[in-house]
Amino acid sequence: MSESGINRRDFLKVLGLGGSSLALTGCGNTDIRSGDELIMPNVHPEDFVVPGLSVFYASTCTQCGSACGVMGRVREGRVLKMEGNPESKISGGKICGLGQAAVQVQYNPDRLTQPMMKVGGSLQPVGWDKAMALLEEKTGPRSGINGEEFAFMTGAMSGHLKVLVQNYLDSLGSKNHFVYEALSPAVSFAANKQVYGVDMPRLHFDKAKLIVSFGSDFLGTGASPVHFAAEYAKFRKAPRGTLIQIEPKMTMTGANADRWIPIIPGTEGVFALGVANQLLKHEEFAQSVPSDIVSLVAKYDPETVSSITGVRSELVGHLAALLWEKSPSLVISGASVEGHTHGVQNAVAIQLLNKILGNVGKTLDGQAQSPFPQIAPNAGSFAALKSVNDGMGGGKFKAIFIYGANPVFTAPSFMGLRDNLRKVPFKVAFVNAVDETAEECDLVLPIYTAVEDFGSHVAWYQPEGVEITMQQPLMEKLYSDTRSMGDIMLDLVKQRRADEYKAWPDFFTYLKTAVINIKPAVKYADTDEHFWYDTLSHGVIQVDAPQQQIGSNFSAAMLDLPVTAEAQDPKFPFYLVPSERHYFRDGRHANCGWLQESPDPLTTIVWDSWAEIHPKTAESMGIKEGDYLEVSSQNGTLKVKAYLFPGIHPDAISIPLGQGHESLGRFAKGVGVNPFKILNPVFEKSTGELAMYGTRVSVKKTGESEIVVKDEGPVSTQMGRKLVVTLPADVAQLSKEI
């Protein structure tokens, strides 16, 4: 002891001090002063952090546009897991796999951690001061840029960030906000607007005895999959509803249907009119539609319908009989119906069934009318991409900002978007990771991920009332050189309107002021501060708003359907179905290992792209699983492995979207192929949207072959084992179940 310079007495003193400091810190984080020395406990917890205990914070999932309320599990200052927020009427406390992957976006090894500037053809790291100075130089007040010369391209937006983007554009005197979503609901909105006078009616699955879905993959993609999954579960409880799915390629929803009917892509409307023809034979329904529609529908007898749609003629009458028997029902349409030149008419023809059957007002009615139009969602469109592309090609823009969209990846190659983008002298991307579009930009700014940032969101499908979902940081920013998109926008607005915005030093204060302004609308009784913290801790603001009134207007002119889907060229005998995978969507989150390794529900394939081909077609062409095929349209060729899939029309080939990245990161780059690229310039007539399902392709064997990596075993049936047992619905007694 004495040799080391510490005697026993001193040693005990130190021990005692340590012990007492431990005891005291346990009581209340107190520091002890002893003489001049400040002794700090080794573990000095931050506020609300108890080592070893998880804290849950409410926020909003931004992985898709559904705006589910979520809870982040936080421990020791790190967000570990996303879970549903039970207070959110959209998520109902549940969450999908895509939403869970938000943490993999946050901790992604390929995140951009500092601003990048294009120097000599490649992106080089640069400081924020330089980056912001360049922004100021190119787009600031002294740059001389006028509103016409500036474009701001974003993905779907809602909430207060949308307001700020709008304010920035206003300050520039620009109207060029291009809201682009590659898989937007624009055609569906246009059809609904014609018929019901609203973008999207509210659907009541639980009230329907029969749902007939024409290509709507409501369980996997679309408006609000987590919400609709919960609605679907209610629908399947006693008295159990029946689901019929009619589509060219089986979606996840189709896989859960009681009857799945394959149909030639684009002829869904004809099939619906055939069913309408049969229904109108009932006297009760004869008066439900105007006489010009009755005479139009009369042309669609089962044989004609069968010859156009490729569906057996008796199924037309069968479906009509089921709809007659099971009332109220609900008829809905989805992406494979809307992605054609006559997409709107196709969808309207399907909605006609709801009118005939008297479902309007029963199983579908109006959503709540949001009292805050400024923060209402803009779901985006392809038309926006087209106008921005034309503008860039014509040399109209001197500067473009891109946020929440990756047009270089999602634009079909016929648009020549990459070359057009290069014509813009100053291009800025706001991203979490460098994607294909950011590679082309002059300035790439790293922004916070959704779990680091504040925000507010409003979904375009609202199940009940209007739910404003609040986003708050679930942890401190991971990289010191990243910034909040809101903060950047506020700085940009201040370039021209410093006085108006001087009250708000950052996006947090701006958002707080804006959210507190909502207080009167929700009749909150307490103080502003309480309202703000209440809002954050609950994660949602429920606004009681009046319901939109919906009409139901149909005329024969709205139902002008072509006999065949798209112009046929014998060189391209197959219909291309670019299918939307439920965890990939347009491919923006492809760089998450969890999503890559999550098997596709129907094929169980992982880490790849594949071409689904019907076994009968494959046999006639001598194609086996794993054979490399050349799938060619007029605008390009994809080399992709074949997967023999019984759930597809024999005349169709389906390749999933979302893969085929050339950038974005290690988990996405070089995986699979990108079917966006080979789409033909076929557009929906009335909206100008890209007709995603309107491309025809040829298929050729290359002679090469490779194993398909999938979860499925060598056989695809149960081999007589009692693994999944099926009970006929008339035998099951669900009402007696718990």
Binding site: R75, V79, E83, K94, I95, C96, G97, Q100, A101, Q104, Q106, Y107, N108, P109, A229, A230, Y232, A233, R236, R240, T242, I244, A255, N256, D258, R259, W260, I261, L322, L478, Y583, G593, L595, E597, S598, P601, L602, W607, D608, P646, G647, I707, D711, E712, S716, T717, K722, L723, V725, T726, L727, P728, A729, D730, V731, A732, Q733, K736, E737, I738
Partner: protein, 282 residues
């Protein structure tokens, strides 16, 4: 089970099969016996449960090549089957089967472990002791459900490039090369709930704790709970579906949907499935 126990009772373990009455529910499990009920009619095959499991249990992403070699580590997977009598098209849709460790009461994996690394806990879980496991893989060979996953590689050094390790759940061990792993019914959550309940002099309430898969499931297809508590939802569902934990050939009404998979092998699984329903008139 230890080796001494195994050797001393060799004839019992070698020859005896579990029999009715061997296990007494009230005697063996006085407080907890965790069980599940899984409704295949509302399972949509969406894989939210599997992703939740990756997040909760630190499952490594193995990559394409290792997936191809069958080295994927998904503790819960969704199997997809087509109907055998399917014609040209799957007109009745697909059959989805979420498959995870069935926490068998007479677990075939437990009896073959040479080192007793896998054994039954006193709340009815089939546990896996990573420290004791020597990687013989006998358990996996003997598992009729094929839900045991072996660490062929040292995943901690490859599967989580920085900063992905920041996401790892500190409550769950990150397994290294050479050990077997499997679904635990999220034992870390169960232990936390049990310990919290104990400090409050009570038992865990029904619904107080659920595994990550149950929590995520958008259609609420999975119900989880303590089957010792007759008032728990899961116990009521098992009773209502006429499935008894200790019966091997259940005799039930044909209108009732409950069944257990590969029940005739007599592993007495703790997961009850409920048959998929299809409207045959549609």
């Amino acid at each position: 089970m230890s080796i001494t126990n195994l050797l001393n009772n060799w004839s019992f373990y070698r020859n005896k099969r579990p029999y009715r009455g061997q296990y007494d529910l009230n005697r063996q499990y006085s407080e907890y016996k965790w069980a599940m009920a899984l409704d295949l009619d509302v399972c949509t095959g969406c894989n939210a449960c599997t992703t939740a499991c990756y997040a909760e249990n630190n499952l490594p992403v193995v990559g394409k090549k290792r997936f191809q070699h069958g080295q994927v580590m998904h503790w819960i997977r969704i199997e997809r089957y087509w109907d055998e009598k399917m014609g040209e098209f799957p007109e009745k849709g697909a059959s989805f089967l979420p498959m995870m460790c069935q926490q068998c009461e007479a677990a075939p994996c437990e009896t073959v472990c040479p080192v007793g690394a896998t054994s039954h806990t006193n709340d009815g879980l089939n546990s896996q002791n990573y420290h004791r496991c020597i990687g013989s893989r006998y358990c996996s060979a003997n598992c009729p459900y094929k839900v045991r996953y072996f660490n062929f590689w040292n995943y901690p050094s490859t599967a989580w490039p920085a900063p992905l390790p920041d996401q790892l759940n500190p409550d769950v061990t990150v397994r290294t090369k050479g050990v077997m792993e499997k679904c635990t019914f999220c034992v870390q959550r169960l232990n936390e709930a049990k310990s919290r309940a104990r400090t409050e002099y009570r038992l865990v309430r029904d619904g107080e704790v659920v595994p990550a898969c149950v929590q995520a499931c958008p259609t609420s297809a999975i119900t989880f709970g303590n089957i010792v508590d007759p008032k728990s939802k899961v116990a009521m569902m098992w009773k209502n579906q006429q499935v008894d934990l200790y019966k091997d050939m259940q005799e039930k009404d044909n209108t009732v949907r409950g069944y257990r998979i590969l029940e005739d092998l007599r592993p007495f699984p703790s997961v009850m499935y409920m048959e998929r329903v299809r409207d045959m008139e549609a």
